[in-house]
Amino acid sequence: MVEVNLWSGLRKFTDGAEVVEVEGRTVGQLLDGLVAIHPGLAPVIESGISVAVDGEVITGGRNTPVEPDSEVFLMQQIKGG
């Protein structure tokens, strides 16, 4: 299981939880797992988010591997100038 840290605005979709334990070995599996547990997160994830894995902000890579002890954060999507 990997601990996924959510931003606090998402708590309303997760019964108040800010950290959700999800099964998965890639970013994509984690996101799918999150939606399976808390379907309310689906529109948020579909509308575009960034994921930080061990301090690395990943914009697109659903296939990025995740270790059980990885630190995973969902973040607002970041655009640049």
Partner: protein
């Protein structure tokens, strides 16, 4: 890559040779967006709404079409229906549908055999409007009784009971704010506002487009990202991206403003309607200011608690930003994530609202959101430092993030260089200059994430052992030079033997634009992978010739060498020798790499500015200016400095005199450079720089993006300096002379 694997011994990296495109750009030969013509070409003009918010009742183009030489008129009716989300907003912004949503919103476009004729024809297109109530101010747009711009714009994040223009709400934080404030010796709370500013690139948008009835098209355009142009134009026009070939011209500045589309689908739409004749469309400066993508205006609340020793115990922000009439355009998410990124604070809360307003659709502008956030937060830190008589650099060193700190937006930082920039600022002679009467010094730090993004690069060895690199990131500030330097370094060949080409969409896989400070980082990293592929192939060719195992060959100084004594005794085989025979030894030698690279390390910077304020007029003169910023590794130090200096200059403009001015009628009042006041040469001093190098472990040469961070600290640094000079605290931008004089008078 481990830190100790990053070498410091370079032959080319860190040197400052002439840029490859220098000659073209000093002789007038370089071809920008408007410098391109095709046979049988038509010229386009656009009809724009004179109203901030109006229902379009009728568009009558019959008089225009009756003019001899007018070949096509397009309106929204010529574009496909059924689009949703961002595609719909792009289409809506290209040509207004039922309503014009801001002053300057395009309503129709016309193509004719000359520019003058097209302009005449545009004036003959009659549009009937029903003017609607409008709102341009962000706080007024938040109100419950504000005019409705887009019905039901709110997404799932917006709580019940908000005003009709609130499109999105963001909330994140950690710790216990109340406990944090209870620990503090001083707690301050203030509000700040910033006005919208424009990137102000000197080259107006320009494109030549051609499209047949078969949907196949060509386009020449000034852009930061030819694939984005391809994707977005295709979406708006309902055509296939692969059928549109987009060639980027040289680009006369972008700063984020040329990462999206505004008028670009119009030449294609007009061409399609005019029997496939190519159509050229060039914006005027006024069009650029009214109808391209400035940054958001912001209204921001900050609360922060600090102990007597300078420890920040808790902080929170509420940001309200308008991004124009469509959701998703404001940088409020980025602003929140940047707000406290420089600080390690245990108790934090961020709240943000995206608000629609009758203003142009915002685009990215250099570190989108970060400068506004810094203006609020770095001003507040300064207010607390002054109240507690603490040195602003020491307080930032005390609270500043370092490797392993948990970022305000969640994850832990890897190797970063904020402390190094602060130390460099403190050690710089500018920080010790004694100031005279009416003079003051301001300090602020800033942050930008940096970005990897979809990247494709190919590299080919020529028959003579020189190399060409095809990249998809337009060269906006010297990236041909930096990529050529890294190529020379990787292959071990002279810099002059490398040619870097910025190629069209048909020549490579998808690339994101030159944005997010990614060109040198991402295209450079992909080039390195591609070059290593080519090197591997060249080692293989040498191994075949020597009849040894390919693994027993290494590459050094532009030649294949036997890996060691056991590999055999052979003279090194140079790239020139290998290339000369490549046709006979297995064919062309090249490499390519496609990825969405990770490892874009953030860049932190610290600025120190001295100003003098004329107490009788409120005029602020910038006396000296220092930028210290972490580049990771400066590939071509002059162009790194250039990014620092340019970012500082744009920030100074934003701080002092730039800003959109809307009248009561909702019309933009300053749509020319006379009144939209970017800094001129005589407004600025030399801008001193210190390139701090804390190598980024996510890049083979340690590169961090350097383009964006530099615009972030100037806004608060100047506000802090004005306060130091006058005692007046300016909490609204721009801090122009009337505002500064009024603030000084208000203290008396």
């Amino acid at each position: 890559m481990a830190k100790d694997e990053i070498t410091k011994d370079f032959k080319w990296i860190g040197t400052t040779p002439d840029r490859p495109d220098g000659l073209d750009k000093v002789t007038g030969r370089a071809r920008y967006g408007a410098d391109f013509n095709l046979p049988n070409m038509l010229y386009a003009a656009v009809v724009r709404s004179p109203h901030a918010h109006a229902k379009i009742l009728k568009i009558d183009a019959s008089k225009a079409l009756a003019l001899k030489g007018v070949k096509a008129v397009v309106t929204r009716a010529d574009l496909p229906t059924g689009l949703t989300g961002e595609d719909l907003y792009l289409q809506e912004n290209t040509l207004a549908g039922e309503k014009a949503l801001y002053d300057g919103h395009a309503v129709a476009a016309v193509a004719a055999t000359s520019q003058l004729l097209a302009n005449d024809a545009a004036r003959l297109i009659e549009v009937e409007y029903e003017v609607l109530p409008h709102v341009t101010d962000v706080d007024k747009a938040m109100a419950k009784d504000a005019p409705v711009i887009l019905p039901d714009c709110a997404d799932h994040t917006v709580p019940e009971g908000m005003g009709p223009n609130v499109a999105r709400m963001i909330e994140f934080g950690r710790g216990d704010l109340e406990a944090g404030y209870a620990e503090a010796d001083v707690v301050h709370e203030q509000s700040y506002t910033t006005e919208a500013t424009h990137q102000g690139y000197i080259e107006p948008h320009a494109a030549v487009g051609q499209m047949g009835s078969d949907g196949k098209g060509e386009m020449w355009v000034c852009t930061q990202g030819q694939w984005f142009i391809r994707k977005m134009c295709s979406a708006v026009l309902g055509t296939d991206p692969a059928q549109l070939r987009v060639t980027p011209s040289e680009i006369g500045g972008g700063f984020g403003g040329k990462t999206t589309i505004f008028m670009e689908p119009l030449p294609l739409a007009l061409s399609r309607k005019a029997g496939g004749r190519p159509v050229k469309l060039v914006m005027s400066r006024s069009d650029v200011l009214r109808a391209t993508g400035p940054t958001a205006s912001a209204s921001m609340d900050v609360k922060m608690g600090m102990k007597k020793d300078g420890t920040i115990t808790a902080a929170e922000v509420t940001f309200r930003m308008q991004g124009g009439p469509f959701p998703g355009a404001s940088p409020v998410g980025e602003a929140l994530s940047c707000a406290f990124a420089c600080y390690d604070i245990p108790n934090l809360m961020h709240v943000g609202y995206e608000v629609l307003a009758n203003r142009p659709k915002c685009a990215a502008y250099r570190a989108p959101g970060s400068p506004m956030a810094a203006y609020a937060v770095e001003s507040m830190v300064d207010e607390l430092c002054r109240e507690l008589s603490l040195d602003p650099i020491d307080v930032r060193l005390k609270n500043g993030v370092k490797e392993g700190s948990r970022a305000s937006y969640g994850p832990k930082f890897k190797t970063i260089g904020l402390a190094e920039t602060l130390e460099a600022a403190k050690a710089h002679p500018n920080y010790a200059v004694k100031l005279g009467p009416n003079q003051g010094r301001g300090v602020a730090s800033g942050f930008w994430f940096n970005h990897g993004g979809e990247t494709s690069v190919s590299l080919a060895i020529s028959e003579d052992g020189t190399a060409q690199v095809s990249v998809g990131t337009p060269d906006i500030g010297g990236s041909r030079a930096s990529i050529a330097l890294m190529t020379a370094e990787t292959l071990g060949i002279p810099y002059e033997n490398v040619r870097v080409n910025i190629v069209e969409t048909g020549a490579l896989g998808v690339n994101e634009p030159t944005h997010g400070s990614r060109a040198t980082f991402a295209s450079g990293k992909a080039m390195w992978e591609a070059a290593n592929q080519a090197i591997k192939e060249m080692c293989k060719r040498a191994a075949q010739k020597w009849d040894i195992d390919p693994e027993a060959v290494t590459w050094k100084d532009g030649a294949a060498h036997p890996a060691g004594d056991n590999a055999g005794q052979f003279e090194p085989m140079s790239i020139k020798e290998i290339a000369a025979e490549m046709g006979k030894t297995g064919g062309p030698i090249s490499g390519h790499h496609e990825s969405t690279p990770s490892g874009a390390g953030p860049s932190f910077g610290t600025h120190v500015v001295d100003v003098e304020v004329d107490p009788e007029t409120g005029r602020v003169t910038v006396l000296r200016y220092l930028v210290t910023q972490d580049a990771g590794r400066a590939i071509h130090p002059q162009y790194v400095e250039g990014q620092y200096q340019g970012g500082a200059a744009q920030g100074i403009g934003w701080a002092l005199n730039e800003g959109y001015i809307y009248g009561e009628d909702g019309k933009l009042q300053n749509s020319v450079f006379l009144d939209y006041r970017v800094p001129v040469a005589s407004d600025l001093p030399m801008i001193d720089t210190v390139i701090v190098e804390v190598p980024n472990p996510g890049h083979p040469f340690g590169v961090r993006g350097v383009g964006e961070t530099g615009i972030t600290p100037p806004l608060p640094a100047i506000a802090n300096a004005i306060h130091a000079a006058t005692g007046a605290r300016l909490r609204a931008l721009p801090m122009n002379p009337p505002a500064v004089l009024a603030a000084i008078k208000a203290m008396a």
